[in-house]
Symmetry: C2
Subunit: 222 residues, 2 copies
């Protein structure tokens, strides 16, 4: 694996998991020494991150990890709703019904996963990402799939803000199950509607647990 790929993956993970919180300045020499690569591949990694919107180049001060305000979260969810509703419709028309039937069944029984002691809910999120992957494969549109992928990077970072409690996660799992069931039935209208409802609930939950603007207060959530 190339050094630039390693640097990119490491930095991206650090940003997404808030080990590099918004506002962190990523000095080239400092990061290249930390990651054990030279400046050239590190610059390539930073360029990729900047293209994704995870970092931004500040004239004269290097690149910094971009901030996320609640206002931006709203914009993010507005685009997300647009893309995911369309994706749900297309998946309903073009998807493999068995795949989504199976996923729907698993999601309905996701309560078991949430009783798991794992605090990171890895098993649950893995199941959800399998649904995402199934939708990507079903829509048969690489441009749309790519747009969705680009969005999800930001959404994983935002997830840290939602401070999910078991109740919300259980409800979200059922909403996901509803979406998968509609796709399995080939009902595009319902799939789109269920997606709209799910995203609205998610955003409401996120906003209610983050009363005001100051997301930067949560910079070190530990």
């Amino acid at each position: 694996m190339r050094a630039s790929d390693r640097a990119y993956a490491a930095l991206r993970a650090d940003i997404v998991h808030w080990r590099l919180p918004p506002g962190s300045v990523l000095a080239e020499v400092e990061q290249s020494e930390r990651l054990g690569v030279s400046r050239t591949p590190l610059r390539e990694a930073l360029a990729r991150l900047t293209a994704e919107g995870l970092t931004a180049a500040q004239r004269g001060r290097g690149v910094v990890v971009t901030d996320i305000s609640l206002h931006q979260v709203r914009e993010l969810f507005e685009l997300r709703a647009t893309l995911e509703c369309r994706a749900a419709e297309l998946a309903s028309e073009r998807g493999d019904r068995e795949v989504f039937g199976q996923l729907s069944a698993e999601l309905t029984g996701a309560a078991g996963l949430l009783n798991d002691p794992d605090p990171s809910r890895a098993a649950y999120y893995e199941l959800v990402s399998r649904l995402d992957a199934a939708v990507d494969a079903a829509i048969g549109n690489s441009y749309l799939a790519q747009a969705l992928k680009g969005l999800r990077v930001h959404l994983v970072r935002v997830r840290r803000l939602s401070q999910d409690n078991p109740g919300r996660l259980l409800a979200a799992a059922q909403e996901h199950a509803t979406i998968a069931r509609a796709i399995a039935k080939g009902n595009a209208r319902v799939a789109s509607a269920a997606t709209t409802v799910h995203l609205d609930n998610s955003l409401d939950h996120l906003l209610s647990t983050n009363p005001q603007h100051p997301l930067t207060i949560n910079t070190h959530p530990q």
Copy 2:
């Protein structure tokens, strides 16, 4: 201006205007000598182009200008319809009515621009891009605006395929005027519908003037 920016702008223009047709291999030393920059900024430019999807890295043979099949054009328009319809809706709700009223009037009178002897129709396309810019500003969603921007790069490249005749351009101008008028009236439903119609007509025209798959035959349209 940085050397990497110049290299990026030059390569991007060359690709979009088909001076570097699909399949061209962009060897680093060759291009860096041609553009008068060293390999380092050129690599950065190539990385940006690859992130945009205009080029793709081929293991061991450098980066090549990506091909565009009719199938991909269909996918492109599918995503485009999704994003632009939503953008038209949001612009109807949030846009400045005077701005779009003015644009609508100009577009209605665009027949004059099309009688212009300029074969590149620069004046016409400048007017259309002003409509795009107005929509971007009106939607008030930087993520959606960014997604639209990323799409338009590919669309400019595809434009070369559509071999627009004056009749189609005039019809397109009227369709654009209809969209602008609906936005000016604040009628989101009609704005979205008019966008759907316009994009369907555009795709139909493009497909009818490119009978079969082999877009690569048009590699050197001059």
